[in-house]
């Protein structure tokens, strides 16, 4: 830890390396000023899950100096802390101490969701109107006559106005937008049916007529608004959940001025030529050249390479790489907007497009449905005109046809299934960006995986544990706990709970290893050449370049491999069983890929690909007529995620990859992929069933309407019955037993994703 990360000084045991805590400057950058010297910081705390957590967090934070108040939001798993101007209180370290790792999330663009409150308000108004109008209508149906009926109709007409304004406006705007661009969507027949129904009922009321459809118009709006609100809630929840994950891109950086002053600047203000200090554990904010310092650099998010690289003065680094062991001074060679990250964004934007052409099932149905309905109503009008010559009667019947065919069931048929499906996936830790993602996933026939970080965890695992003396392993584990290097962390994870060895002095030599002095001996854990190789162990490990030495003599050698993600083998087997071709595209070496491909029995793999190479391979598959699912996590996968028909990313993925992906799974196990496929295929079946139900309903109801037998009462019953049928069918998705079996993806899995590093 260096001077650049004062946040770490709060950590109780400074010798131990803790997961990257945001520095005070970062907290300050991410906070909002409320006025009167009060500052509000919003933090995401994914492990909050019960009332006890709320109490513990709020009580602990309230005790801190200068903290005015803290409030936990359990639904969004966030804490907002209000504190007085001055030194930043140790909020994050306190939360860390309570066992709730916290991180900052993007506050910009996170203003209150106006769309949702608009929808909820519309539902409330439409519900109020529908209830009251229905009460009045029941009186009319049960025999109110003459002036009483007229009074009820007039009152209904009045109540319907706010419902049409608040609720109907949403559909009118959407229908108008579609028509203006020469498209057709489900909102067109809804808007036409509702507004014509209202106009005709108003006319009936004026001429003291018997039948008014105010109740049908408004309750239709009410049902459809419920569907629309659910749909919106689903997307909103996925959005906040994805946003709550820790940011992997740097937010700001410590800039070293020519006069020796240090400034913490937001990434966007760093210009080429500036010198940036990057402490161990920080991400490189912009592309640059190292001018001072030695360290190891983790490039797994950038290039997909699993082994950390050495970094020395003069070498180039790219934005998004993680500095592991030693402080570096980097001279920026590009501004943030020209850095590797921004390049990826451009590739992504160029790659997207295939997906933009996808038309949702509901829209495809609407293209056929709306003209048929409108033509039928028009033909009915002409038919009755010809038969009776009474234009009022012809008009009434034609509008009754429009109202009865108004796609209430159809408007609910798709969203309700997708909401239930998304709910199921959500319960299993999988976020869905929107409904069309479910439809697209159901259609795939090829799955393409990235290697590092997706099929594997991107974290090394010790493979020759059995051949190592447990006492030596305990010493190596205790030393490893002092470093961020992935190999050290892997060893540290193996520490035995009892009897931690103690060291007098521990020093990290960036790029080489760790040196510790205990009881007169000097222990070194690191590169073979540095630690000393004149060992007594004759058997030189094949890949065992990491060794532990005591006073220069080799006492243990460690072999590592990148651990496969939990459930990877069963997930691949299930995908193949579901009829998919499974392929791997990686930026890593052919040898590293072959091991993984072999272990998982993949159909094909292509190693050493650059980001555009992955896109090319996916384009090629698409041109061959395949629908491709891309699963990846790194910056180098992001363009491919955009190019594929549908894409999935783990929660540990780079921010931009998570945003590009249609699905994000939060738990460690790769089981999420076959589960998402299974659920989306079932959802696809239910959607088709629901559309069939809606069509059958129309086939029965439309002839009755055309013959002029539909009264407002019959319309109300028929429409509610079909809606209830469709909702009931959708709920069947909740009950099915998944064909894919869950491995032990429980709370341990949830904890694992919280702190990826």
């Amino acid at each position: 830890m260096s001077c650049c990360a004062p946040g770490a000084e709060m950590v109780p045991d400074p010798g131990r390396v803790t997961p990257d805590l945001p520095s005070n400057q970062e907290i300050r950058l991410a906070s909002r000023r409320l006025g009167d010297g009060i500052i509000q910081s919003d933090l995401s705390v994914p492990t909050v899950h019960c009332g006890a957590c709320i109490q513990a967090i709020e009580a602990a934070l309230a005790k801190l100096d200068r903290v005015e108040g803290a409030r936990v939001n359990l639904s969004t798993k966030r804490v907002s802390v209000q504190w007085r101007e001055g030194e930043v209180p140790p909020i994050i370290a306190t939360l860390e101490g309570l066992g709730h790792p916290a991180h900052l999330f993007e506050t910009d663009g996170d203003e209150k969701d106006g769309m949702l409150s608009g929808l909820v308000r519309a539902v409330a108004v439409a519900g109020f109107a529908a209830g009251n109008i229905m009460l009045l209508s029941v009186s009319v149906w049960s025999g109110a006559e003459g002036p009483t009926r007229d009074l009820f109709h007039w009152v209904s007409a009045l109540i319907a106005i706010p419902a049409l304004a608040f609720g109907g406006g949403i559909f009118f705007r959407s229908a108008w937008n579609a028509l203006r661009h020469g498209r057709m969507n489900m909102d067109v027949p809804i808007a036409v049916g509702v507004s014509l129904g209202y106009a005709m009922s108003l006319y009936e009321t004026v001429i003291h007529g018997e039948h008014a459809y105010f109740d049908a118009s408004v309750s239709l709006l009410f049902f459809l608004l419920i569907g629309r609100t659910l749909d919106h809630l689903l997307r909103e929840r996925a959005r906040t959940a994805v946003k709550g994950l820790s940011r992997l891109a740097a937010r700001g950086a410590m800039v070293l001025r020519d006069n020796g002053a240090r400034d913490y600047l937001p990434v966007g203000e760093i210009e080429p030529g500036m010198r940036v200090l990057i402490a161990a554990g920080e991400r490189v904010p912009v592309d640059g050249r190292i001018v001072q310092g030695t360290s190891d650099i983790d490039c797994s998010l950038v290039s997909g390479e699993s082994t950390p690289l050495d970094a020395d003065a003069g070498e180039l680094v790219q934005a998004g790489m993680l500095n592991l062991t030693g402080p570096l001074t980097v001279e920026a060679t590009a501004a943030a907007k020209d850095s590797f990250l921004a390049e990826t964004v451009r590739l992504l934007e160029a790659a997207e497009g295939g997906r933009a052409h996808y038309r949702r099932i509901a829209d495809r149905v609407a293209v056929l449905y709306a003209p048929v309905v409108h033509l039928t109503a028009f033909a009915t009008f002409l038919g009755w005109m010809a038969a009776s010559g009474d234009w009022h009667r012809a008009m009434t019947i034609a509008i009754a046809v429009l109202i009865i065919t108004c796609p209430c069931a159809l408007g609910l048929a798709v969203p309700i299934v997708q909401v239930v499906a998304a709910r199921r996936l959500f319960d299993n830790g999988i976020m869905v960006k929107d409904g069309s993602a479910l439809e697209r996933l159901a259609a795939i026939d090829t799955a393409v995986f990235d290697k590092t970080g997706t099929l594997t965890l991107g974290k090394p695992r010790l493979v020759n544990r059995s051949s190592i003396d447990p006492a030596m392993l305990a010493i190596a584990a205790a030393m490893g706990a002092h470093s961020r290097h992935p190999l050290s962390q892997a060893l540290a994870g193996l520490a035995s709970p009892a009897g931690q060895p103690t060291f007098n002095e521990v020093r990290e030599h960036p790029g080489f290893g760790i040196e510790a002095i205990a009881a007169g001996s000097t222990w070194r854990l690191g590169r073979r050449g540095w630690a000393g190789s004149n060992g007594r162990i004759g058997a030189e490990g094949k890949t065992g370049v990491t060794v532990l030495t005591r006073n220069g003599r080799l006492v243990a050698s460690f072999e590592f491999e990148d651990a496969l993600r939990a459930g990877a083998d069963t997930a691949i087997a299930q995908l193949k069983h579901a009829g998919l071709t499974v392929e791997m595209l990686s930026g890593d070496t052919a040898a590293a890929c072959a091991v993984v491909a072999d272990a998982l029995k993949l159909d094909r793999f292509t190693p050493a690909l650059v980001p555009s190479g992955k896109v090319q391979r996916i384009r090629q598959l698409t041109n061959d007529g395949h629908r491709v699912l891309m699963v990846g996590d790194g910056l180098n996968d992001t363009p491919a995620l955009g190019a594929a028909h549908v894409s999935i990313a783990p929660a540990t993925a780079a921010d931009i990859s998570r945003n590009a992906a249609d699905f994000v799974f939060l738990r460690e196990s790769l089981w999420a992929v076959p589960l998402a496929l299974d659920v989306s295929r079932r959802a696809g079946r239910l959607v088709r069933q629901n559309i069939a139900i809606a069509i059958v309903y129309n086939a029965i109801a439309v002839p009755i309407a055309i013959l002029g037998h539909v009264t407002p009462l019959i319309a109300a019953i028929a429409m509610s019955a079909s809606s209830v049928l469709v909702i009931g069918n959708a709920l069947r998705l909740q009950g099915f037993a998944p064909t894919t079996t869950a491995p032990s993806a429980t709370r341990a899995g949830i904890r694992a994703w919280v702190q990826p590093s």
């Binding site: 709320i54 939001n73 359990l74 308000r121 109020f128 009251n132 009074l151």
Partner: protein, 51 residues
């Protein structure tokens, strides 16, 4: 018919009262953390922490 003169406004007024109550609750943020509200009722705050 004469009873309707006051029954109808009374019914509509009560309905509107409920609606405005809901809209008020929505605006004052009471629907922002439904899970939290359900859990908070079980928390025993110490007196000095009561806010």
């Amino acid at each position: 018919m004469t009873t309707l003169v006051y029954l109808l406004p009374a019914a509509l007024f009560l309905g509107a009262l409920g609606l405005s109550g809901f809209l008020w609750a929505l605006r004052s943020g009471q629907y922002e953390d439904l899970h939290g509200a359900a859990e908070r009722i079980l928390i025993d705050w110490d007196d000095k922490l009561e806010r």
